[in-house]
Amino acid sequence: MGFPWRPSRVPLVAGPVGDVRLHGTLGFVGSDLAALRPVLAVAEGQRVAAGSRLLSDRRRPWIVLVAPVAGEVVRLEPGPRRGISALEIRAGGDEALEFDTTAAGSREGLIALMVQSGLWTALRARPFGRVPNPATTPDALFVTATEARRGAPDAAAVIAEYEPWFRPGLAALTALTPGRTWLCHRRGHPPPQVPGVTPRGFPDGPGGLPGAHVHALHPVAHGGSVWQIGWQDVIALGCLLETGRIWRHRIVALSGSGVLRPELLAVPPGARLHDIAAGRLIAGSTRLVAGGAEDGLPVPFLRRDIRQVTALRHRLREPGRGWLRQLAHAARPALIPNALDERLAPPGIAPVPFLRALAAGDVETARRLGALGLIEEDLALLNARFGRQGTDYTALLRQTLDDLEAEA
C-alpha cells in the first residue's frame, strides 16, 4: 500500500551524440572482469587491435575480454588468486580485427562469433545472474530497451538512430532460444518490427528493470531459466554482423547536478570517468559516479554494461555534526518498513520479509519468496533506500544466490 501519489516521470537524456577525447588510458579493474581464473592472451607493452583477445576464463572459455580500441597494453598487474587486478590500454591507432560473420546464421556460428568478439559476456542468465553457458538453452530471451534510472540514455531515441544495426542484431539473437524473444521497450515508443521478436511496452523507472519484465512475461523464481541482454549490446552485435568489426563505442549519458548540460557521448568501454566528463562540468567541486545518482559507484573506469555517468555537486559539509549526526545516523540501523520506499521493490517480491530473509541469511525463505528471479540490479533501487550503513542488500542477494547455486 503506497500513498496515492503519481510516480514522477523518469527524465532520460536524448539528443546528438558527442565525442570524447581520451587523454588517459582505458582500464579494466579486477572486480569488473567476470573471469575468475584468467588466461592472458597479451603481455605488457604489446600492441592490440580493436577486437583482439585480451584474456579469457580458464574454466569457462566463453568468457572473453577483447580490446575495445586499438592501442598498447601499458599496465598489467597480477591480482590475488592468480587473477588480474588491473589491465590498462593506451588508445592509439586504427587497427581493427576482421571477424568472419558468414556462419552467424546458425546458432553455433552465432555463439562462436559472439564468444570470439567478447560479446557473449553481455548476456546474463536468470536464475543466478551469470554469463550463460552456451551449451544450455534458455526458455526465453529478454532484450531490455528500457531504462530505470534518472539521467540514463533515452533508449528509444538512440535505437532509432542506430536502427540499421539494431535490426540485424535483434534478428540474429532470436536463434539463441527455442522460445520467445521478448523486446521490452518504452511504453508509447514502438521499436522496429523484427520477425520472431515479440515487443512489449513497459514504463520507465523501477518497472524498466529486466527483473520486472521477466516477472511479467516469463517468471523464473520457481523454475526455468531465461537470458537477458541490453539494447546497446544488440546494436553492438548488429554492427559486428554488418561490418565484421566490433562496435568500438557505447552510448553513455552524462548527467547530474554537476554537469553543464546533460548529453549523450560515444565512449569506448573502459574509458576513464574523468576523460568522459572533462570540460563538461560546472565550476566547483563535483564527484563522478558510474551509474545513477542513487546507486552509482565511484570507480575510475566505466564498465561496458553501465550506460550513464553522473556528476554530483559536492556537498560542502556533511549535514549534521556531532550529536545531531549521531541521532541521524544510528549505527547498524534495523530495517524500518516504509510504504514509500517499498514501492521501489521488484514486482512479485514482498519487500520487507524478503530483505529480512536476506539480512538473516535465511537462504531457504529467500528462495521461497522469489530470490531466484532476481539479480543484483533489480534490488539496487530498493537497496539505495533500505541499505544504509553496513547492510548492503545487493551484496546479500549475491551471497544468497551463490549459496543457492552451490546447492543446485
Binding site: 500500500m1 534495523a334 529480512r356 533506500r385
Partner: protein, 261 residues
C-alpha cells in the same frame, strides 16, 4: 523525487506532528511540561545505556515514545508510576531486542498496558480528551512520509466503525476522538509491529480495530484500543506468515501458467 529516509524525512516530521496535540493539552494541564521532561529523561537514559552497551547510535524515535506517553496518561498520574511503566516498556518492549525495528511490540503500547494493568487507582484507561483537529496533521504527515501503512490505518478505522455498529454503539464516535486517531496512527499502525506484507497490514488493522470495538463494550475505548493493539502485534508475525504463504502459492500458480501458456 522522493526524499531519502532518515532524520529529516521520518523522525522529525512524526515528532512535529505530535507538537500540536501536546500544546493543546498543555493549556489545561500545567504538569504536562514536567511530565514530558521526565519521560524524555527516562527514555533517553535507557536508550543511551543500551546504545553504549551495544555500540549503537541513538535515534530521535525515543522522543516520540516519550511524547506519546506524556500525552496519553492522565494528569493525575504519579510520576513514580510513569518511571516504572516507561522503564518496563522501553527496556522490555524495545531495548532488549536490539532497538527500534527489531522488536515485536510497540513500546508505548507496552507502557500503557503495564500502567493500566498495574495501577487501577488511576484512570489510565480513559485516555486524554483531544479534539479531532489536533490529530489531523499527524494523519497527513505519517501517511505522506510512508510511516503509517495506509492499509493498517484504513483497516483499523473500518474495524472500529464496523464492529461498533454491530455492537449497537455509534460507529463514528471512535473516529471523532483525537486521542483514538493518534493511537491508531502511532501505535496500531507502527510500521515495525503492524505486519510486513500488504495483506497482513490490512488484516492487522481490521483485527486491531475490531477487537478494540469489542473490548470497548466493557470499558473506555482508549484502553480497549491499547489492548487490542497489543494483541494484534503478538499475532502480526503469524498473520504475515499466512499472508506470505497465500501470496507465494498464487505467484507459483501464475508462474506455471505463464511458463507453459
Amino acid at each position: 523525487m522522493m526524499m531519502r529516509p532518515g532524520l529529516f524525512r521520518d523522525d522529525l516530521p512524526a515528532l512535529l506532528a505530535l507538537l500540536i496535540p501536546v500544546i493543546w493539552r498543555a493549556q489545561g494541564d500545567p504538569w504536562l511540561g514536567p511530565r514530558l521532561a521526565l519521560c524524555l529523561i527516562v527514555v533517553f537514559g535507557w536508550q543511551a545505556l543500551f546504545a553504549r552497551l551495544r555500540g549503537q547510535g541513538l535515534s530521535l524515535h525515543g522522543a516520540a515514545t516519550a511524547a506519546l506517553v506524556a500525552l496519553f496518561v492522565p494528569d493525575t498520574a504519579p510520576h513514580w508510576q510513569l518511571v516504572i511503566g516507561l522503564s518496563f516498556g522501553v527496556v522490555l518492549g524495545e531495548a532488549v531486542f536490539g532497538g527500534r525495528g527489531r522488536s515485536f511490540v510497540q513500546p508505548v503500547v507496552l507502557v500503557l498496558a503495564f500502567l493500566i494493568f498495574s495501577f487501577a487507582d488511576q484512570p489510565y484507561r480513559a485516555g486524554p480528551e483531544l479534539p479531532l483537529w489536533t490529530a489531523l496533521p499527524a494523519v497527513v504527515v505519517l501517511i505522506a512520509t510512508g510511516q503509517a501503512p495506509v492499509g493498517t490505518v484504513l483497516g483499523a478505522a473500518a474495524g472500529l466503525a464496523g464492529l461498533s455498529w454491530l455492537t449497537g454503539a455509534d460507529p463514528l464516535a471512535p473516529l471523532m476522538s483525537g486521542a483514538l486517531v493518534l493511537a491508531v496512527l502511532y501505535l496500531t499502525a507502527d510500521p515495525v509491529t503492524s505486519g510486513a506484507t500488504a495483506a497482513g497490514r490490512w488484516i492487522c488493522g481490521l483485527l486491531a480495530g475490531g477487537t478494540a470495538a469489542l473490548f470497548a463494550t466493557a470499558g473506555p475505548a482508549f484502553g480497549a484500543l491499547v489492548f487490542a493493539t497489543l494483541l494484534t502485534s503478538v499475532f502480526a508475525p503469524l498473520i504475515d506468515h499466512l499472508a506470505l504463504a497465500v501470496q507465494v502459492a498464487r505467484l507459483r500458480r501464475r508462474e506455471r501458467r505463464l511458463r507453459h501458456g
